[in-house]
């Protein structure tokens, strides 16, 4: 691994890396020319399937397989949505790509659109990325000038238009169907599935939704082939027939209590320890680590003893976490109170729950109220069981909600309390010595503004 050279981040240190001139000088748009000259749409889909590329947005669904769900010989338009609504706490890999190397993303997007026979693509960007917005828009303009976008791209007869759409700052817009609703100008309430977007998505037409980093990977797969891509990462677990393996490079967002936080590239499968030691420069101020989020706050928590967890798509699952998510590793040192962490996480999900499904809307807000009360020194031991009960029963895994936001809200609760129960109990006993054993409902706190 030591000889690994960054692929997705190869150019970000070059001056003006966001311009077409620099991008082309480093071999940009060669993949596009090569595909247009040598490959059919079906060939490109097969190539991406063969590469084992899995979506980088969080769920890790095989990208090539997703593309094949589109109806064959569809008479009407097919739409492509690039999901740049990167809102998972701790995640900023798409931002780096869009700000420093937007052409790489666009080239991947053009290739993905070509493979899925799409002539209209929507680039859905979160509101909070003004620089990314400017640079991607500039890059799209440059592409129109250079003939990479528009009618008859590079004389291939293929047409493509890219429209940038700026969201209005809601976490739920990053959910596949929430994004589609938002794009249609509606409230971003995730849709019930089926129908899946590949059958009926934006404007009732078949739609593909892919992540920014996924598109960037497509560009490199097209250039260097599936075998090269499969040379990196972790092969499928032979004992798990549903594991397709985790291949390719991945951008890890390392933040929290490390000496050098940042976005680093490594082959899938690097462990948390390696990431902290190799890239992060160790724990901040030489302190001891206490916990880490493996891939964005909704994936749960790893204790310091679990830092040997490999960060591939299957790894965190073996440590009772939800999954790799967005590979945003947030490290917490020994000074962090887990009560604070859980209060913060509960606040986030109560604030971002779209409010459609009852268990998520009420569960997240109830969990927040309980956490606020515990923090305020009026916790009971029984509250921990209540929180666990909420956590165990909301989400698409038990089947009680439409989308996965509630699963994300549940995992910090479940991991936090199960892995750090002693700390919570100590906190409750210390702050509420007279009432921690109470089992009757306690009077409510006055409403504390959460909005």
């Amino acid at each position: 691994m030591s000889d690994f050279q960054p692929i997705l981040l190869a150019n970000i240190a070059i001056e003006n890396s966001h311009t077409r001139a620099v991008y082309e000088s480093t071999g940009g748009y060669a993949a596009l020319r090569k595909v247009f000259a040598e490959m059919s749409k079906a060939d490109l889909i097969e190539l991406v399937k063969a590469s084992g590329l899995r979506g980088r947005g969080g769920a890790g669904f095989p990208t090539g397989l997703k593309w094949t769900f589109l109806p064959k010989e569809h008479p009407g338009p097919i739409y492509f949505c690039l999901n740049a609504d990167e809102s998972e706490p701790g995640t900023f890999n798409n931002r780096i790509l869009m700000e420093e190397d937007p052409h790489q993303v666009i080239e991947g997007l053009i290739l993905s659109c070509f493979a899925t026979n799409t002539t209209t693509a929507y680039f859905y960007m979160r509101y909070e990325y003004p620089l990314a917005w400017k640079r991607v828009q500039a890059a799209v303009d440059e592409c129109y000038e250079a003939g990479y976008l528009g009618k008859n791209i590079l004389g291939s007869g293929y047409d493509l238009d890219i429209f940038l759409h700026r969201g209005a700052a809601a976490y739920i817009c990053g959910e596949e169907t929430g994004l589609i609703e938002s794009l249609e100008g509606k409230r971003a309430w995730p849709r019930i599935k089926p129908p899946f977007p590949a059958v009926e998505g934006v404007f009732h037409k078949p739609t593909v939704v892919n992540n920014v980093e996924t598109a960037a990977c497509v560009r490199h797969i097209a250039e260097r082939g599936a075998d090269w891509f499969r040379s990196m990462g972790v092969p499928p677990d032979p004992e798990n027939p549903r594991d397709p393996g985790s291949f390719g490079p991945k951008l890890y967002c390392l933040s929290g209590h490390v000496e050098k936080p940042g976005c680093y590239e490594a082959p899938l499968g690097i462990t948390v320890n390696e990431l902290i030691e190799k890239f992060g420069g160790g724990i901040w101020k030489g302190r001891k680590a206490k916990a880490a989020i493996p891939g964005g706050i909704s994936m749960g928590l790893l204790t310091a003893e679990e830092f040997d967890c490999p960060l591939d798509f299957a790894g965190p699952g073996r440590y009772q976490c939800l999954g790799l998510g967005t590979a945003a590793v947030v490290v917490m040192d020994e000074t962090v109170s887990m009560v604070d962490f859980l209060l913060n996480s509960s606040q986030f999900f109560a604030h971002e729950s779209c409010g459609q499904c009852t268990p998520c809307r009420e569960g997240t807000s109830w969990a927040l109220k309980i956490m606020q009360r515990i923090k305020a020194g009026r916790g009971r031991l029984i509250d921990l069981d209540l929180l666990l009960e909420i956590g165990d029963n909301i989400g698409i895994i038990p089947g009680t909600t439409i989308c996965g936001l509630a699963d994300g809200a549940a995992w910090p609760l479940k991991n936090g309390i199960r892995k750090f129960r002693e700390e919570f109990e100590t906190y409750i006993k210390q702050t509420n010595p007279s009432g921690f054993a109470e089992t009757e409902p306690v009077p409510a706190l006055e409403m504390i503004g959460v909005h």
Binding site: S353, C357, T400, I402, E446
Partner: protein, 536 residues
């Protein structure tokens, strides 16, 4: 075709039938609780109250279950589908949703209009937990007006969004939307754009809890004191199936009743709030006879004899049948005057028309013709009366001056005859006027007979599409009023009480138009056209 299993019980699907889990279970007699799903609206599957376990029976007979809960409303029931609605998992999920919904609910049932017919109450009683574990102080009972007809009690809402979908999909006016996010969500209207469509009252019926209150009905009556009676709306010729809800002969509200052939689940505000005439203090309640320039009260016991004598002494009798009469009443009156005078003239009363038909996106139509039974009365006039006389034709006939006894029926909710028209009746020696409210004609009458409103009548109406719907009376008429049917029944010297069903059967035998209405009239009515087509 196909077989669906609900809790081990097998039900058959009909050819081409598309049911969801809730509907399939209902057929098996199993109720799956639900808030957001409504047969007339799109499926959102967001309340999660209808969570069940589902699976599929393989041809070999094994059952493969989906490992997680699924919403029954969103799960199609096809051949081999299996639903389990009573497992521990399902029971726990329902308890969870009920607990969740009550976390911020004010539980102000004692002052809530919905109490007694509230899904939240009923489902909590059946599926909820016996203890409150949440420590959240419910919000106060905030309320605001959404429009002239509906008040929103903000914190009672369970966010099923039925009302929002109604304004988008059925009325097509989209006034309502969801504001804010998460637990701060509220139903809202934009400033300056209140809920003011002509079907707005339906959102109150749709609301499964007490969040949407009907301003007309608010705090008027506890629902458990009221009795509901099936009836048919008389507001226009659509003839929506309705329920009239009354307590001790006072009508408090009217609600639509499902009829797939007529109004589906809806009715318009005009019909819903057009009740004031029933209990209007200006309603006529005293039968009187002209004596010179005076009117003297007469007893209902003496009246039939006097009327009969007056009519029999006339040389030419005419009867004007109002389109507000039921088929049975019109048939009885026509039969009676024909018995008095074999050549009696029959005519249809004025047919009120207001504006133009107004259709909504889902097909619901408010018709311009503001009476319930023009088709039924016209059929009687044309099939019994020889020549068909509309109101204008009748006035022309009247001007010939040879009609010396005229029985005219009204029953309109508003003014229906002006002075000039009334003056054309000056040549009539015996003028019998039967009406709800005083009119210029009323003052010219020889006999003044107070009539009944729709809630007091019994019989059948034929709507614009030739669908005949029958109903029974909901309230007794005010003291001093005799319902038309009962009076005609007595004039025909029939014994006992007016029996609308027997009269309809008689009409069905006598008149071809009504021939399919001879037997029991089903809840959704019968299509009289069926017979006409058979004749072709």
């Amino acid at each position: 075709m196909g077989t669906v299993t609900v809790d081990g019980q097998e039900i058959e699907l009909h050819e081409g039938e598309r049911l969801n889990g809730i509907e399939a279970a209902a057929r098996a007699g199993v109720e799956i609780p639900h808030y957001c799903w409504h047969a007339g609206l799109s499926v959102v599957a967001s309340c999660r109250m209808c969570l069940v376990e589902s699976g599929r029976k393989t041809p070999e007979g094994d059952v493969q279950m989906i490992p997680k809960l699924v919403p029954a409303c969103q799960t199609p029931a096809t051949d081999g589908t299996v639903f389990v609605t009573k497992s521990e998992k399902v029971v726990n999920a329902r308890a969870m949703v009920e607990e969740d919904l009550l976390i911020r609910h004010p539980v102000d049932c004692p002052i809530c209009d919905k109490a007694g017919e509230c899904h939240l109450q009923d489902y909590h009683f059946e599926h909820g937990r016996d203890q409150r574990r949440a420590d959240i102080k419910p919000f106060t009972s905030r309320r605001r007006e959404l429009g002239d007809t509906v008040t929103l009690f903000v914190d009672r809402c369970v966010m099923c969004t039925r009302c929002v979908r109604f304004t988008r999909e059925i009325s097509g006016t989209s006034e309502l939307f969801v504001a804010n996010r998460g637990a701060h969500e509220e139903i809202e209207v934009f400033p300056g754009f209140p809920l003011d469509n002509k079907m707005s009252g339906n959102v109150v019926d749709l609301c499964p809890v007490g969040a949407l209150g009907d301003r007309d009905f608010l705090y008027q009556q506890r629902v458990w004191f009221m009795k509901a009676h099936d009836n048919v709306c008389t507001g226009c010729s659509t003839g929506c199936a309705i329920k009239v809800e009354e307590n001790q002969d006072h009508v408090y509200r009217v609600k639509p009743r499902e009829n797939p052939h007529v109004n589906q689940w809806w009715m318009c505000d005009e019909g819903r709030y057009g009740l004031s005439h029933i209990h209007d203090p200006r309603r006529l309640t005293e039968p009187k006879r002209r004596d010179g320039d005076e009117f003297v009260n007469i007893q209902w016991t003496e009246l039939p004899g006097q009327l009969d004598a007056s009519l029999r002494s006339a040389t030419r009798v005419a009867a004007v049948l109002s389109p507000h009469l039921t088929v049975e009443e019109a048939y009885l009156l026509a039969t009676y005057v024909r018995q008095v005078d074999a050549d009696a003239v029959l005519a249809v009363g004025p047919v009120p028309v207001q504006g133009e038909d107004e259709s909504f996106p889902n097909g619901f139509t408010i018709r311009a013709e503001k009476c319930p039974n023009r088709n039924g009365v016209e059929a009687i006039v044309s099939q019994l009366g020889g020549t068909f006389l509309a109101w204008e034709d009748f006035l022309v006939r009247l001007d010939q001056g040879d009609l010396d006894a005229v029985w005219i029926t009204g029953g309109y909710k508003s003014d229906w005859i002006d002075d000039a028209t009334a003056a054309r009746f000056s040549s009539v020696a015996t003028l019998i006027v039967q009406d709800l409210f005083a009119s210029p004609l009323w003052q010219r009458a020889t006999y003044q007979l107070p009539g009944a409103s729709f809630a007091e009548r019994e019989g059948s109406y034929v709507n614009h599409a030739d669908r005949l719907q029958s109903f029974r009376w909901a309230v007794r008429p005010p003291a001093g009023v005799m319902v038309e049917g009962q009076l005609y029944w007595r004039l025909l010297e029939r014994t006992g009480l007016y029996d609308a069903r027997a009269v309809l059967a008689e009409a069905a035998r006598a008149l071809a138009y009504f021939s399919v209405a001879g037997g029991e009239i089903p809840e959704h009515g019968v299509d009289l056209k069926a017979n006409q087509m058979a004749g072709v």
